[in-house]
């Protein structure tokens, strides 16, 4: 038994903390929970402090310095790393490539995910099979997806070149030309995302109350009218959630890029995270890579904040 004595049934009002009492919906909270709080929360705080908080501050700090080749700060340069980055055409190109990639991935994932969900929600014979297939890519990890698609896009033996060859189309060097390479990584990412997106949107579609459709059908609404005036508004919270999740995921893309293009050709797919990796761990420019990390973190934090603000409205306390 623990040393703490559980108080006898006490008066309903907990004097120790009126605020937390209100916040916790009437659980009896006792003073003297300090020992428990320390034991329960200690491990999490230690890990988050060491691997989330400290590194963020350290990254900020390093971004203001030039560093030696093992990452120790040497010369304080203030914001020069940032200014240098934002005025360099290579970094601007990386930001631009990231924007193209993120927009392409989010748009295609949502459109196709919605199409799949809409197709699968109608009851038809054998629909269960299609639902299973549509969610299948959720079980695919990043390396497997990259290898499957690497083969599909590979020169001359790959599926696309073979089809092109069969139809006597000009051969496209998918992964060694800037435009096609970007297309290839976007398509591969979308495919990998679809399983998850489908499941979430399918779940949302199933929750739309049927009477809404029946009522609008009686009034003669067409299927496409229903889709835009009933379905979309009803699932808009889920659509918003999936788009921010997909967007944040796309900003963090690394594995697929590393395996399929390694940032190439000619830096055409050198997205933000891949650049951080290159500058820090291949070139040893830790100060600059830290500044790039901070820029990345700010962008992702802004979008996460947006997501929170929205979820806050939906979560009922």
């Amino acid at each position: 038994m623990q040393a703490e004595v559980t108080p006898a049934p006490k008066p309903k009002v907990d004097q120790s903390s009126a605020i937390s009492h209100k916040r916790a919906k009437g659980y009896n909270l006792h003073a003297g929970d300090k020992y428990y709080a320390f034991a329960f929360l200690g491990p999490s705080l230690l890990v988050l402090g060491t691997f989330v908080f400290y590194p963020m501050l350290r990254t900020l700090y390093l971004s203001l310095f030039l560093t030696n080749n093992v990452g120790r700060p040497t010369v304080f340069v203030g914001l020069k790393n940032y200014i240098g980055l934002l005025t360099s055409s290579a970094y601007q190109a990386s930001l631009q490539a990231t924007a193209v990639y993120v927009i392409g991935v989010v748009a295609l994932t949502l459109i196709l995910g919605l199409l799949l969900a809409q197709l699968a929600v109608k009851k038809l014979a054998g629909i269960q099979w299609f639902r299973t297939i549509f969610s299948a890519t959720m079980g695919v990890s990043v390396s497997v997806a990259a290898i499957f698609w690497l083969f599909i896009f590979s020169p001359s033996i790959g599926l696309f070149d073979q089809i092109g060859n069969f139809l006597h189309l000009p051969i496209v060097a998918w992964l060694t030309q800037p435009g096609p390479a970007m297309f290839a990584v976007i398509i591969s990412t979308v495919w990998m995302n679809l399983g998850f997106t489908f499941l979430i949107l399918f779940g949302a579609l199933q929750m739309v109350p049927q009477p809404l459709y029946e009522a609008s059908a009686i009034e003669g609404a067409s299927e496409s009218y229903q889709f835009f005036h009933v379905t979309i508004p009803m699932i808009s919270p889920t659509l918003f959630f999936t788009s921010t999740v997909t967007l944040i995921g796309a900003f963090k893309s690394f594995g697929l890029i590393d395996l399929m293009t390694a940032g190439g050709p000619n830096n055409a797919t050198n997205l933000m995270v891949y650049r951080v990796y290159q500058d820090a761990f291949l070139s040893g420019n830790y100060g600059i890579a830290s500044a790039e990390s901070v820029i990345l973190a700010v962008i992702i934090a802004l979008f996460t904040l947006l997501q929170f603000k929205f979820l806050e409205k939906r979560v009922t306390y």
Binding site: Q2, T6, D14, S16, I19, R23, A24, N28, K34, Y36, F40, L41, P43, S44, V47, F51, V52, F53, Y54, P55, M56, T59, G71, L119, K122, L124, I133, F134, S135, A136, V140, S141, V142, S143, V144, A145, I147, F148, L150, F151, L159, Q162, L194, G203, F254, G255, L259, V273, V276, Y277, A280, F281, A289, S290, S293, L296, I300, A301, T304, L305
Partner: protein
């Protein structure tokens, strides 16, 4: 609403086309994994030299099974740790009163905004100083807990009726007992979700293990495939595809088994 016959046919047509697009890469990967690399290299995908030789080669000549084992160990450890530490942390935020509780909660919430990808530089320095490089520990210790897990379980624990806590107080249960006997069983669906989430999250790690592991003994499967793809086996497409299929099969099975569970869980929640 009645679907007309043409309408129905059209629907099936679109369904089948989409299904082929989704499943195509799987089928192509699986099919080529059965072909000799020489045939793949010639572009003869309709080869009839079908065998499991690539699988035998992959298992015998590469460390693919070791990679799988490594990933399994790392993911299970991470999952177990997150279930424990996230639930303890969430418990503290719901059932304990201490100074600065709300402030701490917002601090933890704020960490959900910070991407790990942007913090690898100091984290790499930290694990190097702690002598954790190239070991299972380096892929588990930074992920022993997660802000997301604490947040999610806190939401779930808040659904526990206050009467239960009051009754437990009357019975004389202390916090450990209430945590173990009431809170965890009550929130089992959320715990299951966190388990699945943390396992997959760990299984899919790529950048961090790539930076911190240098030998097949500890290398997880994502980086193992990278290794196979970039090394001497490059262009041995048959064997690479076989390795990819070996890697994807366990997660596909887990997904299909889990899907039924998820569906039941959802139905249960909906009919309450």
């Amino acid at each position: 609403m009645m679907l007309t016959k043409t309408h129905k046919t059209l629907r099936y047509l679109v369904l089948v086309i989409m299904a082929i697009i989704i499943i195509g890469p799987f089928i192509l990967g699986f099919w080529t994994s059965l072909l000799p690399t020489a045939d793949i290299a010639k572009g003869t995908l309709f080869s009839t030299h079908v065998s499991f030789q690539n699988y035998v080669d992959a298992v015998q000549q590469t460390a693919i099974m070791r990679y799988l084992l490594n990933s399994f160990v790392i993911s299970v450890l991470t999952m177990a740790a997150q279930l424990l530490f996230c639930s303890l942390g969430a418990y503290a935020f719901v059932f304990l009163s201490f100074k600065g509780r709300d402030f701490l909660f917002y601090v933890i919430l704020a960490t959900m905004m910070l991407p790990f990808e942007a913090e690898v530089i100091p984290n790499f320095a930290t694990v190097r100083q702690l002598n954790l490089l190239n070991h299972y520990a380096v892929m588990v210790i930074p992920f022993l807990t997660s802000a997301f897990g604490i947040f999610m379980l806190r939401q779930s624990f808040r659904q526990i009726p206050p009467e239960l806590k009051e009754a437990a107080d009357v019975e004389g249960l202390n916090h450990w007992q209430f945590y173990w006997r009431v809170t965890l069983p009550y929130a089992r669906i959320s715990l299951f979700t966190l388990a699945a989430y943390s396992f997959l999250e760990s299984w899919n790690q790529y950048l961090w293990p790539m930076l911190t592991t240098f030998s097949d003994k500890f290398r997880p499967v994502q980086d193992g495939l990278r290794q196979l793809q970039s090394q001497e086996t490059f262009n041995n497409w048959g064997m690479i595809q076989a390795s990819a299929v070996i890697v994807v099969i366990p997660t596909l099975i887990v997904l299909f088994v889990g899907q039924h569970y998820f569906k039941d869980g959802l139905n249960e929640g909906a009919t309450k």
